[in-house]
Amino acid sequence: MYQEVISGIVRGVAGQLIHVEVEIRNGLPYFTMVGCLSKEAAEAKERVASALRSIGHPLPSMKLTVNLSPANIKKKGTAFDFPIAVAFLACLGLIPGSELDKICILGELALNGKIHGAGCCLPIILEARKRGIHRFFLAAEDQNSLEDMDGIQIIPMEHLSDVLDYFHGTMKNRTGLRKEWVPEEESEDFSDIRGQQHLKRAVEAAITGRHHLLLVGSPGSGKTMAVKRIPTILPPLTDSQRLEVQSIYDAAGISRNIADWRCPVRMPHSSIPKGALIGGGQEPKAGEITLAHHGILVMDELMEFRQECLEALRQPLEEKRIQVNRLGWNYVFPADFQMIGTMNPCPCGFALEDGRCRCSQLKKRQYLRKLSGPLLDRFDMVLTVKEEKEPARPPETSKEIRSRVINNIQLEKERLAGTGCSFFSELKAEDVMRLCRPSAEVRKLLETAADMKKISRRGIHKILKLSMTLSLMDGEDNICPVHVLEAMTFRNTGFVEEVAGDGR
């Protein structure tokens, strides 16, 4: 007797379907499992045998073979217990085997037949959906990390006997058990920051246009304070983005509620090794940049990160994905993130303060050498932050800013319809010129600025992209000279020379 059941594992951040094959034949009583199994997967043998005995259908004293195919992939985890048990039940003729080829089964078994969650179901479900499988047997525990999706029928089960009930048509309906998810109250708010109009405007523009942002300032100037409050003004994820993010988190084994609509904001510590940042390990796992997919990667104290980490960011920033190579296998992880960095201008941190910096130029150069030209070029916005003494106008709350950001992003999408982008920062150079149609006035201003060496000719596109975001925020259809001027205050590629510069 032979039976095949579909299950799956997670490789990298994507799911892969696994065929669980079971054969029962005459011979000396013997139970063997093959198919490149890890220790915990091979132990399924004992759990399955006990669980089947507990529901009154013990394994027959025959030669039993289990194979997990494709057999050349290392299989980890305990999600195969349940499919193996179901395959045996079908072999024994207790459930109809013909129906099983359209069902994907995942779950761990307890010795008494109870089904435990296997975690990381979502990537497998999304993969299975692509392959035309729409019905899933999962542990009820796993249901919390899932929701109703188009074209997917999830049948949560608590006990192995539920499978028999299901095919007999006597199983109780368990849907609707899920709890509502409420986001935690955010204790931080943008109104905590007094003054700093320029910084706040920059942050809002960065979020609206999804521009990579680098803040340079003395210790205590409010960089980190502003960065910590960025999550409070982020727009919610769309449904498809949310599933993508959830699937990545499931694969990485990080708990996250599926109803959580907030953009992921990752803030790795500066001591992070390269593998943990971009993804790695013997069996590669998603790194921080993948966890920040559709969200924000905050690099606080950018200069404290290892050089290799910083350089490794160049490719994903450009291609929005990261390729991790292992012998014989390449893993591609999505990494469409917005980078926000903060740093001090020099080792002592006070280069922007008058007469307070005691660093030698050599020290400064050594410090800034980490910030290579190509990396600096990825930042659309680089601005200096200085401590401000006098509080200005009454500050806005995060709520107000967020609603404005959401509105503006919607407008931005409409304006960019047809380009395949949803943010100004993603525009290609040729689209920039076509879309923003700079007026004669703006062109003249750009010329003057380039003559004054305030911008490089190469940087004009970045300035224009930023100007488009700013004009959108001001509710204008076209960019005006003032937007270009403003954009220039947000972008400064020459600060490395300024800080380390001679002649002062």
Partner: protein, 363 residues
């Protein structure tokens, strides 16, 4: 052996300071005598280390070789009796018998001013230094300073920009570049200006040498202008040396609230002349005949409304865009436009991104 080689041996190979050198010369009158004296006579006159050096260094070959090496490095060794030796320096009581010089020959000017100050100055001090040094150099005043970071460097650069004459005095060996931050300035000085040091090649920049070097800075000049000095600043040592040498002392005031200028204020209290413009310095030297008509005062400028508001807020102390906007009471867009206009006209300077100061050159 030539006369000069004896002097070279005396000044550089014994490693004794100039006071000791003067004492020895009172006894021996010429280093040749000292060279020929037997060690047991000299032993009690010298410290233990100097005596060891005395014993070891009395080889004519070695002296010649070292002296030749100077030429390869394009270093000149000037004796106080030679023509190239700075005239003013010879008048101080503990003048060095020989001085090393690198770069161009020192052109004696009718008036020479030493410009000194803090190594970590504010923008105010830096900008004023460059302005003053530039203006003085333009009307033919020689500028002397110490080639250190901060005010010293700015003084040399200011004078160099106006193609004036400037000399730097080192507190370490003549072949050394210290501080390294100024290395570009050093190369410029070697090219067009003069670098002096009392110390032979290879001497390390020990802290105690700098007060000694300060007496040379003041000795080379007719007046000492202290731009920005804290309460206990090395620049005050230069001013003290200047007083001993009977030079004029000038000091530029700053805000009383910042301690950066406390040293200058102290000097003014003691009778140093308060300097607002270059004219204040020139008036102390009636013999100096150069006309000073093109020296400007700081004036108010006629500007359009928003620019005027912004310009009034911008200061010699750097201010951030945010502060300027708040203080001028303008909107973000207005401020940015005004700043850009002012910058393109050259009225203000952006010293860091979004941090502005007044441009005092645009008078």
């Amino acid at each position: 052996m030539e006369d000069k080689l004896y002097w070279y041996w005396f000044c550089s190979m014994l490693g004794i300071n100039s006071r000791k050198q003067h004492q020895l010369m009172e006894i021996f009158a010429h280093p040749k005598e000292l060279f020929r004296t037997s060690p047991n006579i000299i032993e009690e006159k010298l410290s233990e280390k100097a005596f060891q050096r005395f014993c070891k260094s009395r080889s004519e070959d070695q002296i010649k070789r070292q002296y030749e090496a100077l030429r390869e490095e394009q270093i000149r060794f000037l004796l106080s009796v030679e023509a190239g030796y700075p005239k003013r320096l010879k008048k101080i009581y503990d003048y060095p018998y020989g001085i090393f010089q690198k770069g161009q020959a020192w052109l004696e000017r009718e008036l020479v001013i030493a410009v000194v100050g803090s190594r970590h100055p504010s923008s105010y001090g830096l900008e004023l230094t460059r302005l003053f040094a530039g203006k003085m150099a333009k009307i033919g005043i020689g500028i002397v300073s110490g080639l250190a970071k901060g005010i010293d460097g700015a003084a040399h650069r200011g004078a160099g920009c106006e193609r004036g004459v400037t000399a730097g005095v080192l507190g370490c060996g003549i072949d050394r570049i210290y501080p390294w931050d100024n290395h570009q300035l050093f190369y410029e000085m070697y090219e067009n200006q003069t670098v002096f040091s009392e110390y032979p090649p290879g001497v390390r920049p020990d802290a105690w040498r700098f007060p000694e070097r300060n007496r040379i800075i003041s000795g080379l000049s007719d007046g000492i202008l202290v731009m920005e000095a804290e309460k206990r600043s090395g620049s005050l040592i230069t001013a003290d040396c200047g007083l001993e040498q009977n030079k004029e002392i000038f000091a530029v005031p700053g805000p009383v609230t910042s301690g950066n200028h406390a040293g200058c204020h102290g000097l003014i209290k003691q009778g140093a002349k308060l300097v607002e413009t270059v004219e204040d310095i020139l008036s102390e030297f009636p013999d100096f005949t150069k006309s000073s008509e093109n020296i400007q005062h700081f004036q108010k400028k006629s500007l359009a409304k928003p620019e005027k508001k912004v310009y009034d807020v911008v200061d010699l102390y750097p201010r951030h865009l945010n502060e300027i906007m708040n203080e001028a009471g303008l909107s973000f867009g207005e401020t940015v436009s005004a700043l850009f206009l002012l910058e393109s006209k050259g009225y203000i300077k952006q010293i860091h991104h979004n941090i502005y100061i007044k441009n005092i050159y645009k008078g």
